[in-house]
């Protein structure tokens, strides 16, 4: 019991020694309190307004934010397990809805699932080179080989591209969140890996909310009417501008200067948009609105992390190249 207690108190101490991260965690819950109160009061003043979806979304955000903060601020091992589980659930969801996964592919899909602990182990150890090459090189060789061992060639070339791509999206992309936690400390930069992690998740998710909100408020000109009818130029540009401003203000979570953080946040916003519409296109192909209904008001796991799977590696490699490569 004492051990458990000291485990938590040690980790909470480490957490409270990181004021930058604490400020933003406070900010996240501040926003949630504000949103909850806003929709509550709005509902009281205008009972005829239909806020069910917004209220449900906010409730789900509470859940997701709590799980995320609990998984990331305490102990790195918990974070890696949590991100690994997230990758697993996302891959499972993508493989389940995809009509390009044949019956013969199920035995190969097991190899894809098994790649998750390996990839996260490399991330945990901080083995940079293996972390970067394990999926795009080793799994890209192994999966086609396992596919031909199943003995049928009909539709095999499609499976050879579908399964590795699903791995890249759900496992390679998301595992960069974990890899941020093992980056070495930089002189004069206090927030560390947790800061970077918090920055990218916060910017990406806020970007989703901003693009949604600006689109609802001002949206007229559709950007990709055949893929995602709700996406508008106004929402997209509003999202890029707002995310850049938020990135400018939160630059202290990263080693970047304020201006750099602003430009990088603009990039993140565009990358998030790309992830979002890519998953939308996949869903449209199979004729579903949401990938599953596991998170009330948001759809499936994929619907929530589609942007993150793209923004995490983009952000990581920009920052890594600028600040960590030659240290």
């Amino acid at each position: 019991m004492n051990k458990v207690f000291s485990f938590f108190s040690d980790n909470i101490e480490k957490f409270s020694a990181n004021p930058e991260v604490m400020i933003v965690v406070g900010l996240i819950f501040g926003i949630l309190v504000f949103a909850t109160l806003l929709f509550f009061i709005w509902g009281k003043i205008k009972p005829e307004a239909n806020l069910t979806e917004l209220k449900q979304r906010t409730k789900s955000w509470w859940m997701m934010a709590t799980i995320f903060v609990a998984a990331t601020v305490f102990n790195p091992v918990i974070s890696f397990v949590a991100f690994g589980l997230l990758s697993f659930m996302a891959l499972r969801e993508l493989a389940s809805i995809s009509k390009n996964v044949r019956d013969e592919d199920r035995r190969v899909l097991i190899w894809c699932y098994l790649a998750i602990p390996v990839q996260y182990f490399f991330a945990y150890k901080g083995w940079h080179n293996l972390f970067l090459t394990f999926i795009p090189i080793f799994m890209f060789i192994w999966i086609p080989f396992m596919l031909i061992l199943q003995g049928t060639t009909e539709g095999i070339s499609r499976s050879m591209s579908v399964l590795p791509t699903q791995l890249m999206f759900t496992v390679f992309g998301i595992s960069h969140l974990g890899f941020m936690l093992t980056l070495p400390p930089l002189e004069g930069f206090h927030a560390g890996g947790r800061g970077l992690l918090l920055f990218i998740v916060f910017i990406t998710e806020m970007n989703d909310v901003f693009q949604f909100t600006w689109g609802k408020l001002l949206g007229h000109i559709k950007i990709l009417p055949k893929i995602s009818p709700n996406k508008t130029w106004e929402g997209f540009i509003g999202g890029v501008v707002t995310s850049s401003i938020v990135g400018y203000l939160l630059h202290f979570l990263t080693p970047l200067t304020a201006i750099e953080a602003m430009i990088v946040s603009g990039f993140i916003s565009c990358a998030g948009f790309i992830g979002d519409v890519v998953v939308s296109a996949i869903k449209r192909d199979i004729g579903k609105k949401d990938t599953s209904d596991i998170i009330p008001g948001h759809g499936g796991i994929l619907d929530r992390i589609d942007s993150l799977a793209i923004t995490a590696p983009v952000f990581f490699h920009i920052v890594y190249h600028m600040y960590y490569l030659h240290k």
């Binding site: 499972r92 389940s96 199920r106 035995r107 097991i110 699932y113 599953s292």
Partner: protein, 212 residues
Amino acid sequence: MKRLILSLLYCVLMRTFLKVIVGVVYRNREAMKKVPQFVVVANHNSHLDTMALMSACFPGMIASTHPIAAGDYFGQSPIRAFFTRFFVNAILIPRSRPKPGETGPDPIDLMSAQLAKGHSLILFPEGSRGEPEQFQKFKRGIGILLERHPDVHYIPVFMKGLGKSLPKGETLLVPFNSLVLMGDPRKCEAKDVDGIVHEVEAAIRALAAETQ
């Protein structure tokens, strides 16, 4: 003791495994709580079906809920029969009723005896596991049973995806998102055997249509 073991096995371990690893999502699991006694009727594609339905049970009812299993398959050896009876809480029945002049237990009587005790049953009227997401012809046993017990509610269940995770003839479990959709408990409106079979099948097909 058995109740404790079964509760731990299904309501804690198996349910967690099914939800977290296999990716099973339950809808309207509370249907089981609405009546004291029920016959769950479900489509059958996988060995996981029985596990998923047992794990749907609440601890209070699990010891008195019996999946119906084919005696020729699950009773092959005494050890297998013991495991099926104890750890799955199953009733082993012959696949068909004895013909006139034959001796041997009547499967309908075996199931009927459990219902008379106030226990609940889990039944797969398709008999054996079929191709994923495809219905086979329903057997008449469910009709004969429910005709004999018109006061017992039945709960239609449609399961989707489990046949992909563990299809017939496969030993390797591969997680795929799957859904266990329960309808509300109801009594049969039809009075004759064929009418009841038809009604039950229609109820499950209606649930299947909801998931499209």
